[in-house]
């Protein structure tokens, strides 16, 4: 029963996204422009793996910050928040929105990965297993922390600029870990060496998802 309504909520968001391409187009164009900017900045040099791994996540962070808040802000703008609140329970809303945000971040990181591999000769992934695990867990971690922040931001007055301000301190442990692990993947370290980083990522994902699941009631219900 609850699974069905969660599924319905996810499908509703996916369908309206596919019809309007509101978030997706903006996100992908944002990725292209920011990767181009990085490309201009680093064109003449031969950047190190550490630097490229850092710039990879800088692009992911700012792109996510530009688009992920839409998930709740759009409901607020269309005036459909109240309908959603009447129709279903908070946990269904949270899980549904979290799944949609996970799909968005995974698309986003996949796009950034493809562009980086294509545009930077120095961004040669040696340990694919480490890279894929890092990007996958990192994307989910991003989504888990940013979903509840999007719900908070939807109630505030200045949404656009406040979102990265709120999200950055919460995302710092994740960002430092994924940058470290991505650099390991570029330097060709084995998954055993990167295991500690991946443990931190799993821990972050669990803590953030559980924490925001418990706190979401207080954000959603007035």
């Amino acid at each position: 029963m609850k699974f069905q309504s969660t599924y319905a909520l996810v499908m509703k968001d996916v369908r309206s996204e596919l019809r309007t391409r509101y978030a997706l187009n903006a996100l992908l164009m944002f990725v292209v422009t920011s990767v181009t900017t990085v490309l201009f900045a680093l064109r003449s040099d031969n950047p190190s793996a550490q630097l490229l791994a850092g710039m990879f996540w800088v692009v992911v962070f700012f792109t996510a910050m530009s688009g992920l808040s839409r998930i709740f802000v759009s409901e607020e703008e269309r005036g459909t928040t109240l309908t959603l609140r009447l129709l279903t329970i908070p946990s269904v809303v949270f899980v549904g929105k979290l799944v949609v945000n996970c799909l968005l971040t995974l698309t986003l990181t996949a796009a950034v990965s493809v562009l980086y591999v294509w545009a930077f000769p120095g961004f040669a992934i040696v340990s694919w297993d480490v890279f894929i695990a890092t990007v996958f867990l990192g994307s989910l971690g991003f989504a888990s922390a940013s979903t509840i922040l999007a719900a908070i931001i939807a109630k505030a007055n200045v949404r656009g600029s406040l979102y990265p301000v709120l999200a950055f301190p919460v995302l710092v442990p994740l960002l430092m870990t994924v940058m470290n692990a991505t650099a390991r993947a570029l330097e060709g370290e084995t998954i055993a060496l990167a295991f500690g980083d991946l443990q931190v990522l799993v821990g972050y994902l669990l803590v953030m998802t559980a924490g925001s699941f418990l706190l979401f009631d207080y954000v959603w219900v007035e």
Binding site: N157, V172, M176
Partner: protein, 234 residues
């Protein structure tokens, strides 16, 4: 509160006077001499200020978090006043801890800022306070502001274990107690203090915690007056 105020004045005065005036010698013979800690020398006197201030920052953050949680459970606006007042004081202490720490780092480690794990943590704590106040000023309705800022401070509090346990493994540290420090492998630094120096340290510790209690009391009373004033003027 009068007792607390008197305690603050006495304890902090005594701690500062002792901390500045007691001579430091290699092998302390009498009770009124401090041992020289290798590598710190006279700069060790900052320990009576920097460490208690940094400690109080963390206490203020936890108090703010606790009152935020209480607000969510009871929806009593008094708790929100306390939570935000504690956050304001925490910000002041956090700023002082950053300044004293940066000065100490300059003269001990060579530069004002090294991105040591604890420096990173206190910087992120400053960012959390900044984000908290930015969020509060962006919401007009009092109940919504109280609710959402409480949720945000709890969410930010969830990242604290990562700074304590995960970050030191990623970045090398300079503070005592970091990974690779010969003196100890625990997250808590070993105290190299004895006798009067240790007493001085704890006097200062208690003094600054009481200072926080006293200031929090004052701030909450002002906030309460402001709140009633805003109700009347509406």
């Amino acid at each position: 509160m009068k007792i607390v105020r008197a305690g603050v004045i006495i304890l902090i005065t005594v701690a500062i006077v002792l901390g500045v005036s007691i001579p430091m010698v290699p092998k302390p013979q009498s009770f009124f001499e401090y041992p020289i800690i290798p590598g710190l020398e006279e700069k060790a006197r900052n320990i009576f200020f920097h460490v208690p201030v940094a400690w109080t920052t963390v206490v203020a953050f936890l108090v703010s978090l606790w009152y935020g949680y209480r607000y969510l459970r009871t929806r009593d606006i008094q708790y929100d006043l306390k939570s935000s007042a504690s956050a304001e004081l925490g910000f002041v202490f956090c700023f002082l801890a950053t300044i004293t720490g940066a000065l100490w780092a300059k003269f001990n480690w060579g530069s004002f800022w090294n991105w040591d794990p604890r420096e990173t943590s206190i910087f992120v704590l400053l960012l959390i306070y900044g984000a908290y106040f930015a969020l509060r000023s962006a919401i007009d309705v009092e109940e919504t502001r109280a609710r959402l800022s409480a949720v945000y401070s709890i969410l930010a509090g969830l990242t604290v274990p990562f700074f304590i346990f995960a970050l030191p493994r990623l970045v090398g540290g300079l503070h005592p107690g970091s990974a690779g420090d010969a003196s100890g492998q625990t997250p808590v630094a070993q105290l190299h203090m004895r006798g009067l120096m240790l007493l001085n340290f704890f006097l200062s510790m208690i003094g600054f915690n009481l200072l926080f209690v006293w200031l929090l009391n004052l701030r909450v009373r002002i906030a309460r007056l402001e709140y009633h004033h805003s109700l009347q003027s509406m």
